[in-house]
């Protein structure tokens, strides 16, 4: 994976899947349609202001709540390149990887980022640089097996690749 550069949307702790992708849209399966409702109950301006490559930064336990993978799919469909959080809820963590949405665990991220800052993120080394106000943190590396899935673009392309080589 190459370096990500984008502006940040910064949110707090315990951001749950009901505000990332509300239950009332769970019968929507088309990613383009899902993108319209991303973060709807948390930040009404998110979809309007987010551009391809932008970055979501959050506190602890991002993505807690339901198992709906639309919470990861809708962020990817909006064009979010990576979600950086102090920690993730288990199912969101799995869903993001399986959807090919990059995630990084970085406990000190809130100390160097404010809403709208430009970040430069190297997913391989884990180094996160704040281009707006300086400051740098390094995220915990993901296990190689999981990096492998992300590098292939998600679980399904990963599976197809392994079936081809088998």
């Amino acid at each position: 994976m190459s370096t990500f550069r984008g502006k940040t949307f910064v949110y707090g702790d315990d951001i749950n899947t009901d505000v990332i992708f509300p239950g009332r849209y769970l019968n929507v399966f088309d990613p383009a349609e899902m993108a319209k409702h991303a973060m709807e109950d948390l930040d009404k301006d998110f979809v309007k202001n987010a551009a391809v490559g932008d970055i979501v930064v959050a506190g602890k336990y991002f993505g807690c709540g339901s198992s709906r993978e639309q919470a990861a799919t809708c962020l990817k469909a909006v064009g979010i390149s990576v979600v950086i959080a102090k920690s993730f809820a288990r199912i969101f963590y799995r869903n993001a990887i399986n959807q090919g949405l990059a995630i990084m665990i970085c406990p000190g991220i809130d100390e160097i980022v404010q809403m709208g800052d430009q970040l430069e993120v190297d997913p391989t080394s884990g180094v996160i640089k704040n281009l707006t106000r300086g400051g740098e943190r390094t995220a915990k590396p993901l296990p190689p097996f999981i990096m492998g899935i992300l590098n292939d673009g998600g679980l399904i392309p990963h599976l197809q690749k392994s079936m081809k080589s088998a």
């Binding site: 198992s67 288990r90 399986n98 599976l159």
Partner: protein
């Protein structure tokens, strides 16, 4: 070194002899459950490029989230799943007339001790009440399970909960688990497996144990289990002929944390908006007026819950300012509640009975809240916007507290009959 339930069950499912927390395994689940999101699963499955399901008999599909279809979009989704089920010979398909997935799975014999169960629903932890390692996954991974029979899993560390003493009258397993969530917080068991022990747990009905494992998800648990005992085995044998092996933890198993709870000091609890870990004793917020009371869901919609409600309501009326909605967890439960006269009691008291399913629990239909309204509910989530308007408030409590509040028109401590 001894092993926890999670370690032993996952080792068995991965056909591996010895596993430790942190190990990444390829696990072959015995049961793979989906609900309406089977629509999404089948859509992803078709993109993989395999022609056949790995084992159609491990797949269970249960419609419950929007039953009967509340919109054309849902109707189309239901139809697509029915077509897929027919084309692929999936035998374990339960249409709109059976019940909520977490009640239907045990009723039809899919919860067998010592096995691994995955479901595309976060509250899949529920089935740990039968000693099953049971956890929620996403739709894409489920498609991979349908295709390959397996998925990757990290062996979790475990937390041991030990209760001391017994419940006071008017205090239930719902109060215990809400208290625990308040204590450990919403992420207190993230990535971890929880095991429940103690005399009160042994005495508890299976339905009450399911409340503990269902709500363990709200402290982040990957799985939550009650060690199977004679009661569990008797129940499971009454619903399936399939053989199973009971797995319990070794006495010297290593836990990340041991939490002791003295039940003699536990009072009725309520989770306040907008987080399940925002827990207070009911007495602290008693008197808050409510507009709706909901008795039901995969958490507390079983026969014993309806019995508590019906006994409190016998010969009485729900407060005029309150709408009360009752949703039995399954049609079997509904049928029994009719036979026992509970449903008549609810109707006479002024409640609305909704067909078994998720209903307003996830904000889909059948009793949503308007802005400024307050609901007391026996369900398991109170996030902002969960049951309708983002300006509404949801309080979570035991069936007893919910029904007492519906009668009083305000949040009220359950009555204790002497």
């Amino acid at each position: 070194m001894g092993k926890t339930m999670a370690e032993k069950i996952l080792a068995k499912a991965a056909k591996s002899r010895d596993v430790s927390p942190g190990d990444l395994l390829d696990v072959y689940p015995d049961v793979a459950m989906s609900h309406e999101n089977a629509g999404l699963v089948s859509k992803v499955f078709k993109t993989i490029g395999v022609k056949k399901l790995y084992d159609s008999d491990r797949i269970v599909i249960i419609f419950d989230h929007r039953v009967p279809a509340e919109s054309v979009k849902t109707a189309e989704g239901h139809k697509a799943v029915r077509d897929f089920v027919r084309e692929n010979g999936i035998r374990n398909f339960f249409d709109i007339n059976v019940g909520i997935c977490h009640q239907v799975l045990p009723e039809y014999g899919f919860c067998r001790p010592g096995e691994v169960l995955v479901g595309t629903d976060s509250h899949t932890t529920t089935h740990g009440a039968f000693g099953v390692f049971s956890t929620g996954i996403g739709a894409t991974e489920m498609a991979a399970v349908w295709a390959t029979g397996k998925l990757w899993m990290m062996v979790p560390e475990s937390i041991k909960i030990v209760t001391k003493g017994n419940f006071k009258p008017g205090v239930y397993s719902k109060d215990l688990i809400l208290h625990l969530i308040g204590k450990l917080r919403a992420d207190g068991a993230d990535y971890l497996s929880v095991e429940f022990y103690g005399e009160a747990i042994e005495k508890m009905s299976i339905a009450s144990r399911m409340v503990l494992t269902n709500l363990s998800m709200e402290m982040g648990a990957k799985a939550a289990m009650v060690p199977p005992d004679a009661k569990t085995i008797e129940y499971v044998k009454s619903v399936t002929n399939k053989p199973f092996d009971v797995v319990i933890a070794d006495s010297d198993a290593k836990y990340r944390q041991v939490v002791e709870i003295d039940l003699s000091r536990l009072d009725p609890q309520v989770a306040c908006p907008h987080g399940v870990d925002n827990v207070k004793p009911v007495s602290e917020i008693a008197g808050l007026p409510i507009h709706q009371a909901l008795l039901g869901s995969c958490t507390n919609g079983r026969l014993e819950d309806l019995e508590i409600g019906a006994k409190l309501l016998a010969g009485r009326k729900i407060n005029r300012e309150v709408r009360m909605i009752v949703i039995p967890a399954s049609w079997k439960v509904y049928r029994e509640a009719i036979d026992k006269g509970y449903i008549s009691t609810f109707i006479d008291a002024g409640a609305v009975i909704v067909n078994p399913g998720c209903g307003p629990c996830l904000g889909a239909h059948e009793g949503l809240l308007a802005g400024g309204e307050r609901c007391i509910s026996s369900t398991n989530r109170n996030f902002k916007g969960r049951m309708g308007s983002t300006e509404a408030e949801v309080y979570l409590a035991s069936p007893s507290t919910v029904v007492a509040s519906a009668i009083a028109g305000k949040i009220t401590l359950p009555e204790v009959s002497s």
